[in-house]
Symmetry: C2
Subunit: 468 residues, 2 copies
């Protein structure tokens, strides 16, 4: 009798589970299809890029962006709209960065100073260049060997669908200035981390060398290579002014679709941008995708079990928002079901990785079912990263999801003046919203416990692909 | 006997003609093949863009370009290298042109002043914009209707293989400023004449309205359209300084491969460029193509019958070199066999048009034979234009040839900072050299008389294509 009752109870639970999974699958598919036919993300992105434009942290534009974010969340019906202040060091470009070859062939160069670059003297910094076509060749130079020189590194970034092309060369920007300074250089120039061929340089953070440090456009890096190949000394002048503020005010802004429990799903994008473009792909797109997805995930299903909280992080490019957010929310960490960020642009998602151990759960099976028409690799290697702004929460133990975007076009535009709305394909934008909406639906309307599933999972992750 | 002797003599002449045609065909094919395997044009273009770069007429860079041109012609073995001075009005940008939306949504705009634009006051010119998405809609505005406004015209250029996309919209640049001024506008902004989507504006001549007149990049024109669509007044500030000089010194530079007669073939490109790019495609390519072609046309054939003269015209972008050249050479006009210019960039030639009545001549049949492997439409409509710098000679009666380049990519880059060496495909560059070399060979080693053939030709030209 006891066994029989247990079996019966299990059967009832299994039936209930099957019914729930069926509801989730239908709900996820419906959320996906709403997203594919919806304009919300485009409208949000068009509004942000038109009415705010570039919004570097620590500038008045960021204050306008904050006000825009609050108004937009309220307008879209989000509740508990909050502005969480924090302070962070910021670097701000002053005026227009210029550079030129002085000799032997006077020509202008198109540059942008990198974040944290030191200012040049008001009239500019002049020096002979020492050019390296490989970052490793540059690192091979002994200390003091570049004394009085402007170091130039022109290694070319690989064009890859995933982020590996960028990751592989990132040190050229994030470490190059410090390495140049350590070798006695008075300035640092590098080929932009870019896969395009326009005359627009790409900025970015990390030039913590205490010397003026700038990115060259692709044609300008080529030009310096050709000049150096002629064997005569090449002298360059750089003029780039900037200011730093050790304690700027910044903001993490959030809004919620409340659930019936105290559990929370935290996702979003970052509201700040670099200054040359309008922050359409980086990361207006992430703001637009996650905001629209939260709305569409719940549009047809009544009040969800979990709260969906969309966050517009306020200082990704120069850092600070991730730590500030994790610190402010450390007491609710155990209630955070899963975190995620959309910050690799609006090209199609081509790969989806879930938290460890979650793939076999009915809710995630329902989610994977919904992805079938969207052309996405079901990656069985667990997600580990999720994005800069959720990294502090992930390190503190929050489960994380990753929807990976193709960056083939993104890396043509990233951190340059070409980061503009016209580069965004509305169809791809909708595909992104569909992925997030389907995921949010299955998590918000289920009781899936990612922490428990991870704890029960075998230590070794399976291979991502079977190639046999 | 008399008749018999005449027939015999005619037969001998016909045989001689056939032999000459066969030699020409073989010579043209050999010139073509030399060109396809040769690096001269690339080397010349690499040298000009690296060692000189931007070279607007009326600036010290043009003096460096002149010295470069003289040295390069001598280095390549050209004889009678000459510098012909002339004076012409010039317009020169001073500093970096900037613009921004002041209200309702403060954002920077990427602009470049157009040639002949008036300077703004030192602090900039501020005004409310009146935006027209069609040039005709703008022209439909009555006089004085734009009083105190900055007129903005954002019509989009068509992307076409031939030059019709540019020709169709050229008035937006060459006439727009004057039309805006006539309607009382205090400034004029226009969407760049461009088929690309980068944030780089495209400059160009013709802004003779007496008001500040600038080109917007594509994303910036889009941005103003989106702001205006919101219905609030949009105020913009433009800051663009320039100087004009009514009598700058300019130079037409030439070198020759001497022939055995006093007849001359005149061809070339223009040495001056606009300032934002390095003048690689406009018109370093034309300089490189024609210089290399002259060398390769004669490399295997001994001294030609006609002199081949390569000219580096010195003020195409701002005008003046065509009239100066025609005036300086009016006394030799009857000795000029044919003129031509390469000034539509280095993409493949897809269409070749010969002087009127010339197609049936054995020399031109030999030339057409040589084109067969190069993928070129044999256009039977006679050439009428040939390029800005030969237009004055053509008007004076010189026969003209036209080798038309695809401009599908050219119009992405034209007159912008993106006019750089890396945009040039060496294979296409060689194809251009091959076309010109084959043509020069057949004309220089024959006695084809284009004037006589034109006079004997029927008045109506045949249709260019049979589509049946």
């Amino acid at each position: 009798m006891k066994t029989k009752a247990l079996l019966a109870a299990t059967a009832v639970l299994a039936l209930a589970g099957a019914a729930q999974a069926q509801d989730l699958a239908a709900g996820a598919a419906a959320a996906r299809d709403r997203a594919l036919g919806d304009q919300t993300a485009w409208t949000v992105l068009e509004s942000l890029t038109t009415e705010v434009g570039p919004r570097p942290v620590g500038t008045p534009a960021m204050d306008r962006a904050r006000d825009w974010g609050v108004a937009k969340l309220k307008e879209l019906g989000f509740q508990n709209v909050k502005v969480e202040r924090f302070t962070t060091p910021t670097w701000t470009r002053q005026g227009i960065d210029t550079a030129e070859v002085i000799s032997p062939y006077p020509q202008p160069l198109h540059i942008l100073a990198l974040g944290r670059s030191a200012s040049t003297p008001p009239g500019g910094l002049t020096g002979e260049i020492a050019l390296f076509r490989s970052y490793q060749q540059f690192l091979n130079q002994p200390e003091s060997s570049l004394r009085g020189k402007i170091a130039v590194v022109t290694q070319v970034m690989a064009k890859t669908q995933d982020i590996s092309g960028y990751a592989n060369i990132n040190a050229q920007r994030s470490r190059g200035a410090a390495e140049a300074a350590r070798r006695g250089a008075i300035g640092y120039m590098m080929r932009s981390l870019s896969t395009d061929d326009t005359r627009l340089p790409h900025t970015g953070g990390g030039a913590d060398g205490g010397i003026p440090s700038v990115a060259l456009s692709k044609p300008d890096a080529d030009l310096l290579e050709r000049m150096v190949a002629r064997g005569k000394p090449v002298t360059v002048r750089i003029n780039a002014q900037s200011t730093t503020n050790q304690a700027s005010t910044a903001y993490n802004i959030s809004g919620e679709i409340p659930g019936t429990t105290d559990e929370v799903i935290v996702l979003g994008g970052h509201l700040d941008s670099w200054d040359p473009g309008t922050g359409a792909i980086d990361d207006g797109a992430g703001i637009a995708i996650t905001t629209a997805a939260a709305k569409l995930a719940t549009a047809g299903g009544g009040r969800p079990r979990r709260t969906i909280r969309v966050v517009m992080w306020g200082s990704e490019e120069q850092g600070g928002s991730s730590a500030a957010y994790a610190a402010a929310h450390k007491d609710e960490l155990s209630k955070i079901v899963v975190v995620g960020e959309s910050d690799d642009g609006p090209e199609a998602v081509y790969n989806a990785a879930l938290p460890k151990g979650a793939d076999a759960h009915p809710a995630m099976k329902a989610f994977r079912l919904a992805l079938a028409p969207l052309g996405i690799v079901n990656d069985l290697t667990p997600a580990t990263n999720g994005g800069s702004d959720v990294s502090a929460m992930v390190r503190a133990g929050a489960p994380v999801v990753e929807f990976r975007n193709s960056v083939l076009r993104y890396m043509d535009l990233h951190h340059s003046a070409d980061d503009t709305l016209d580069k965004v394909d509305p169809k791809n934008l909708s595909q992104n919203v569909a992925v997030w909406a389907a995921f949010l639906h299955t998590v918000a309307y289920s009781d899936i416990d990612f922490r428990k599933l991870a704890a029960a999972a075998p230590a070794d992750a399976p291979d991502v692909f079977s190639r046999r």
